[in-house]
Symmetry: C2
Subunit: 570 residues, 2 copies
C-alpha cells in the first residue's frame, strides 16, 4: 500500500474522554473515530488490524471444526421470553419496536437464536455434536461506555455455540475450544492466561475466561509462570506448604505501647511481618469469631463464607470486641479466650510456630506463641486468605505471580439451561427424546485490539505484535521528490517486499523524516526501512525495529532477505 | 470439507410464504433459515456463498483504490436531522431509543455518518479524492418483507462514498466504480446490465443501476446485445431509422364494420400491424390532441410529458372524441381534422407511408394514407413510445432486446447534496473553503445470492456460477462403508483436489446415491464425481457437470487434471 493512496490521519491530541492509553493511542493513530457514546467507526488503518484479528480467530475456529454461520443482529422478543431473559437482561439490552409495533432487540448475544435454529434443524443424535460460530456485530447498551473499543456499545464478537448428546461430549468440545482460544491468542502474539471463572466447586472447569495481561486490566489475577494455572485472585487457592516447626521459646509478653498493627509490631520487634498473626474479629450469625491470618495476609470473604456453618458474617464492632475480649482492637488475639469465642485459622497460620499476636491486653502483644502449648489447636483450619505473590501454585508446579487482566474470551459449559427452556431436543439411539447439552464460547474481537495496545505501547505509541500490525513494514524514503536514486530504490524494495507477500506501506507522501518516523511509531508498525541518498551512496539502507534502541545499517541488496527473516522469526 | 463434519440440512418442502424460486430453493437447500419477518440466518452452506460474493466485491473495490472502513450500524438522530432525512426517511427507518432516552436508528444507509467523518478528517484539497467503502449489515423496515434475502429487512450491503474537489474528479471515480462493478458481476458469472437510472437529460449518466437479468425481476429493461446499452424500458430512447418511402397508391376508404383496433384492421386487410397507425386521443390542458403511434407500439407517457408545452394531459373521454372528430373511438384518425386538433406523431410514424388509419367515420378506415399528400406533416414529431424488441439501439450498435432485471447495484453522483447540508468543506489551493463533491456506490451483497439463483436454476435446484458455488466439486462415493477400494479412491482424490486448491466436498455420510445426487444438485454444486466399485474395476470414475445432460466416464487417474481444467475454463 502506498501512503499517498491510503488514509493516514494521526492526531496530536488524545480525546478528552479517553482514560486508557489504548483508547488515546487508537484515536491518535487514527485507528478509530468516535461517532457517538460507545460508537466507533473503524478507519481503514484500524480495520486492517481488526481484520487480522478476525481472520486468525476464524482460522482457528475452522481448524477446531466449528462451522461459521451468520445470524441476524435484530432478534424477536418472543425467543427471549422463552428463556425469561427479555425481563432479566435489563437496560443493557437495546430494545426496538418495528413499524408494526412488534418488539425486537439488537442482539447482545445469540443463545436464544442459535437454540431456536438447533431445535428446528437437529432432530437426531446422528447430527450431533455440532459447533456453530459467527463473527458478528453486537450491541450492549452500557450505562457508561468508556475505554474506547474496550467497552463500546457496538462491538464485534465471535460467538460459538455447541450442541451435544452428553456432558462428556460437551467437555470434549469445551477442551477443543480451550485449545483453539490458546492458539488464537498465541498467534496474536499476546501474553494471556486462561482463568477459572468460578471456584471450581461444581465439577471443575465449567467456565474459563481468557485474559490479556495488562496493568490497566479490570481483573486481578494470580497465575503461575511455571504452569498454565491462573485464576481470579479472589478465587485462587492459597496453598500452605511445609509443616509446623517446633516451638523454640517460651511465650512472653512484649511492650507495644502504640503498635496496633502487625506491621508496626514487626517493625518494633525487628521481625518479619510473616512472623505475626492478626486476629480479625467477626460476628458469624451471633457467634463472636476470630479469624486468624498471617500479618501480611488479607481475609478473603468469599472463601470465608464457604466454610461450613458460616453464612452470614460481618466485622465485629468495637463494642462487641471489648465485650468478648475485654480489650480494645489493636491488641486482640486468640490466646486465653473463652470457650464462647470461635477461632478459625487460615491454613498458613495453622503451620506457624513462635508467632506474635495480640495479648488481649491494651499496649501488649505476646511473642513466641505456639498452638497446642499456649492455646488450643484451632477448631477450624481453612483457606480464608487472598493469595499473594510468591505463594505456591495450587497445581504444585511453581509459584504464583499477580497481575491484572483484560477479559477477551470466555468459554462456558452451559449444560441444558437454554435447551431445556426452549425445548431443544433430539431423538437418541433408542428413539427417546433428550434435551441437548450446550456450550458457548465468546471472543471479543474488537476488544482484543484495545487489549493488545494496553499490553504493547510506549511513549512513542503503539507496539503491535507482528500478526496484528496494520502493516508489517514501513518504507520511509528521504527526499523522495528530489532523488531519483532514492525513488528507484524505494520502489524497487517496495515491489520486492510485496512480491514476497510482505504487507508493506511505502510512505510516498514526501513528508519530513521526523513526521514519517513519528507516525509509523505511533501506528505501531513493527519494522522500518529508511532509504536515503547518503546510505545509498554506500549501498546501504537503515533498519529499525519498533522497539529497537538503535537503528542499524543493512546492505540495500540484503534488506528484503533480512526482513523476510525477521518476519519469519517474530 | 467432509459432509460428515459439515452441516447439510436440505428440506423437501418450500416455505409457504415463498413466492420466488430463489427463496424456495435457498430454504430448501438449507442456505438460509428464517428467524422472523425479513430476518434470515445464513446457515454454513449459505454463508460460504455469501462470503464468496463478499470477497469478490472487496477485491474489486480494493483494486479500484477504495479504502475499506467499518462504520457503526447504530447511528445518532442528530446527524440525520442535519440532512433533514430523519423526518423524510419514514417508517422504513428502524428507530431506536437507548437507555438514556436518546434517539438512534439502525442505519439503512451511511451518507450522514461518512459525511460526518469526511468533514472532521478532511481539511485540505491535498487529501482528496478519497473513496471509502464498507461491507456491513443494514436494516430497512420494509412494510412487507418478502422474496427471502432479496427483500429482507436486515441485509448485507457494500456501500462506498467518494469525496472530490470537482465534478470532473467525481465523474472519474464514478467511471472507475462503473468498471469495478462490471468486473464484480462478470467475475460472479452473472448476466447483468448497467442501466441508466434517469433519462440522461441532466448531464448524462448521473446515476446507473446494475441489474442481474432474470424473468422474475421487478424492472423491465431494454438492452442491446451488441453493445453495453441498457435502460429501463420507460427510459429507453426509441430510434426511428431509415427514411420515408414514396407513396405508391391513392388514399381510399376501406370497410371495417367491426374492426376498432389496429390488430383487427390489419388482420382483415391481411397486412402487418406495422402498416397501421393508431390515434390516441388526449386532452393536453384544454387542447384536443391526437398522438399518432404505429399500430403495434404503445404510448410512453413519461416521454410524452417531456414534449414542450405538454405538462398536464389525460386520455380524452368518448364525449370529447365525438365532439372534436364527430366519430366514436375505434375509427378515429388524423386525416381531415380541424385546425383546432393538435397532432403529435411518434418519430416512427413520421417515417411511414401508405399506412392505414381511422377514417373519422364509423365502420371505416383509410388505407394508403401519406403525410404531405393526404394530411399535413405533423407539427410535432417526437419519441413518444415504448421501445420494443428489435428496435435499433440508441447507440447505433445493434438492436434492442427486452428483459427483466433485479437491481443489485447502484452508482450515483450525489454532487453536494449531503456535503452542503452537513458543511463538509475543504480548503482549496487558494485557501478558500469549498464544499466537497460526493458520489455513492452500493451493492446488495446478500441480494446478489438470491438474484443469481433467479438467473440460474432448474427443476433439480440451484445452478450456481462457479465463483459463487458453496463448493466447486462434490465427490460422491458409492458404498463407502462397504468398499475399501471406494474409500481409498475417494480419500485419495479428495486429498489431491484439496492440495490443488479446489473447494471440494467429500460426501462421506454413507447416503444412498440418489440422496447424494439430489442434494448436490439442489445445492448447485457445479461438478460431481461419482466413485463406485464397478467403475474402479476398470480404473474409471464418473463425472457430471451440474447442467450436463449425461454423465461421462473418466480415467480415475485423470480426474484431478480434468477438474482443474474445468475449473480453470469455467
Amino acid at each position: 500500500m502506498r501512503a499517498s493512496q491510503f488514509f493516514i490521519a494521526t492526531q496530536k491530541e488524545a480525546p478528552s474522554d479517553a482514560e486508557l492509553i489504548s483508547h488515546k493511542l487508537m484515536v491518535r493513530a487514527g485507528l478509530i473515530k468516535k461517532l457517538g457514546s460507545g460508537l466507533y467507526s473503524w478507519m481503514p488503518l484500524g480495520l486492517r488490524v481488526l481484520r487480522k484479528v478476525e481472520n486468525i480467530v476464524r482460522d482457528e475456529m475452522n481448524k477446531a471444526g466449528a462451522l461459521e454461520l451468520l445470524m441476524p443482529a435484530v432478534q424477536p422478543k418472543e425467543l427471549w421470553e422463552e428463556t425469561g431473559r427479555w425481563a432479566v437482561f435489563g437496560p443493557q439490552m437495546l430494545k426496538i419496536r418495528d413499524r408494526h409495533e412488534r418488539d425486537f432487540c439488537f442482539g447482545p448475544t445469540h443463545e436464544e437464536v442459535i437454540t431456536d435454529i438447533a431445535r428446528k434443524e437437529i432432530s437426531s443424535y446422528k447430527q450431533l455434536p455440532l459447533n456453530f460460530y459467527q463473527i458478528q456485530t453486537k450491541f450492549r447498551d452500557e450505562i457508561r461506555p468508556r475505554f474506547g473499543v474496550m467497552r463500546a456499545r457496538e462491538f464485534l464478537m465471535k460467538d460459538a455455540y455447541s450442541f451435544h448428546t452428553s456432558a462428556d461430549c460437551l467437555v470434549n468440545t469445551y477442551n477443543t475450544m480451550h485449545t483453539a482460544y490458546s492458539n488464537v491468542f498465541t498467534r496474536l502474539g499476546l501474553k494471556f492466561r486462561a482463568v477459572r471463572a468460578d471456584s471450581g466447586a461444581i465439577g471443575g472447569d465449567g467456565s474459563q475466561e481468557f485474559h490479556v495481561l495488562a496493568d490497566s486490566g479490570e481483573d486481578a489475577l494470580a497465575y503461575c509462570e511455571q504452569s498454565e494455572y491462573a485464576a481470579n485472585v479472589e478465587m485462587a487457592e492459597a496453598i500452605a506448604t511445609g509443616s509446623r516447626a517446633a516451638a523454640t521459646e517460651t511465650m512472653h509478653e512484649v511492650d507495644t505501647p502504640k503498635q496496633t498493627s502487625c506491621e508496626d509490631v514487626a517493625k518494633l520487634l525487628e521481625i518479619p511481618v510473616s512472623k505475626t498473626v492478626k486476629s480479625v474479629a467477626l460476628m458469624v450469625d451471633d457467634v463472636f469469631t476470630l479469624a486468624l491470618l498471617r500479618g501480611d495476609h488479607q481475609l478473603n470473604e468469599i472463601k470465608f463464607g464457604k466454610i461450613e456453618g458460616v453464612q452470614n458474617f460481618r466485622l465485629a464492632t468495637e463494642e462487641e470486641i471489648r465485650g468478648n475480649l475485654g480489650c480494645p482492637p489493636g491488641f486482640i488475639g486468640p490466646v486465653g479466650v473463652s470457650g464462647q469465642v470461635r477461632v478459625i485459622a487460615d491454613k498458613t497460620v495453622a503451620l506457624m510456630s513462635d508467632f506474635v499476636c495480640g495479648a488481649n491486653k491494651p499496649k501488649f502483644h505476646l511473642a513466641s506463641v505456639n498452638f497446642g502449648r499456649d492455646l488450643a489447636e484451632p477448631s477450624v483450619v481453612a483457606d480464608i486468605r487472598n493469595v499473594v505473590e510468591g505463594d505456591a501454585s495450587p497445581d504444585g508446579k511453581g509459584t504464583l505471580s499477580l497481575c491484572r487482566g483484560i477479559e477477551v474470551g470466555h468459554i462456558f459449559q452451559l449444560g441444558t439451561k437454554y435447551s431445556e427452556a426452549m425445548q431443544a431436543t433430539y431423538l437418541d439411539e433408542n428413539g427417546q427424546s433428550q434435551v441437548m447439552q450446550m456450550g458457548c464460547y465468546g471472543i471479543g474481537v474488537s476488544r482484543i485490539v484495545g487489549a493488545a495496545i494496553e499490553q504493547g505501547n510506549d511513549d512513542k505509541g503503539i507496539i503491535f505484535p507482528r500478526n496484528m500490525a496494520p502493516f508489517d513494514v514501513v518504507i520511509c524514503p528521504i527526499g523522495l521528490d528530489k532523488s531519483e536514486a532514492v525513488k528507484q530504490a524505494a520502489e524497487d524494495i517496495y515491489r520486492q517486499l510485496q512480491q514476497a507477500g510482505v504487507d508493506v506501506l511505502l510512505d510516498d507522501r514526501v513528508e519530513r523524516p521526523g513526521v514519517m518516523f513519528a507516525e509509523s511509531d505511533l501506528m505501531g508498525i513493527p519494522h522500518r526501512l529508511v532509504i536515503g541518498d547518503r546510505g545509498l551512496a554506500e549501498g546501504k539502507v537503515e533498519y529499525k525495529g519498533r522497539t529497537d534502541a538503535e537503528a542499524q545499517n543493512l546492505q540495500a541488496t540484503d534488506c528484503v532477505t533480512f526482513l523476510r527473516d525477521k518476519l519469519g522469526q517474530s
